[in-house]
């Protein structure tokens, strides 16, 4: 018969086999984990691009979609130039928040955006005129009524134009929200009327500090 190994050696072999099996199992589990993560990241990337996308034009007439702003943080507000008080106040606040964040050179670039909910009156020229009073880098976006409707819908922003008066003037009722979008195009936060500029800046900074980019 075949010589039998002494007990110590048999244990050693059994241990080595078990160890190899364990190592193999761990490796397979890691591979599975890696694949799962990669799939999830791919999904996230698709969601990021599809979620809150828009096809609009800036005040220079250049077509702009969300893809144009990837790599930058974005603070985006929906409003209209004939707005009695809310939009100027929110834009002042947005401008001030951006200014506060700009003071720290270590922070990544932040792009403020204004999307009109009143494309009939707010063409490129009207937007340029209106936005002159706010942050110099605040970029205005407009488009056809369909494009604007789609953009508002993508961000779940309520928009409702009121009745026209004898001058043809009207106000547009709309959700008052400023959205924060990260450099991968994912929503991170939104800010309403009650947040101050300082609070918005603090919150954005917190998101920037916690941000981990999606691997390519």
């Amino acid at each position: 018969g075949a010589p039998r190994l002494p007990l110590r050696q048999r244990l050693a072999v059994a241990g080595a086999v078990a160890g190899a099996a364990a190592a193999g199992w761990l490796y397979l589990r890691q591979q599975k984990e890696r694949q799962r993560r990669s799939r999830r990241l791919q999904q996230l990337r698709q969601v990021a691009l599809g979620q809150g996308d828009f096809q609009l034009q800036d005040t220079a007439g250049t077509p702009r979609s969300k893809a144009d702003f990837l790599g930058r943080w974005v603070l985006l507000y929906f409003g209209f130039t004939h707005c009695p008080d809310v939009c100027p106040e929110e834009l002042e606040k947005l401008s001030r928040a951006v200014e506060l964040l700009e003071r720290d050179p270590a922070l990544p670039p932040l792009q403020p955006l204004f999307v009109t909910v009143d494309p009939e009156r707010d063409d490129a020229a009207a937007l340029a005129r209106y936005l002159r009073d706010f942050h110099p880098r605040l970029l205005g976006l407009t488009g056809t009524p369909e494009q604007v409707r789609a953009a508002a819908s993508a961000f779940r922003v309520y928009v409702s134009a009121g009745p026209r008066d004898s001058d043809g003037d009207y106000v547009v009722d709309h959700s008052v929200l400023t959205f924060l979008v990260d450099p991968d195009g994912l929503f991170r936060d939104c800010y309403g009327r009650s947040r101050t500029a300082e609070e918005v800046a603090r919150s954005v900074r917190g998101h920037m500090d916690a941000y981990e980019p999606l691997p390519p």
């Binding site: 004939h82 009695p84 008080d85 005129r129 004898s166 001058d167």
Partner: protein, 82 residues
Amino acid sequence: CSGMAAPTKAERKACWGARDEFWQCLDSHGDDAAKCEKLRRAFESRCPQQWVKHFDKRRDFLKYKKKLETEGYSPPEAAGKS
């Protein structure tokens, strides 16, 4: 006809100023609009019609809110409690 272009920053400030003066007058006359006619007219002349309507509604809302707040805090009357 005016009202085609959106009010400029200066025009907004002028409108808001006129509104605030009108509202201050109302505040000091117990909301008696008859006592504040001149400021009302100034307010209406400095603001687009749509904004006047908007601010009138806002004033009503603010008054209502204040009423809720003050009445919410006033203690209930102790009527005939032993």
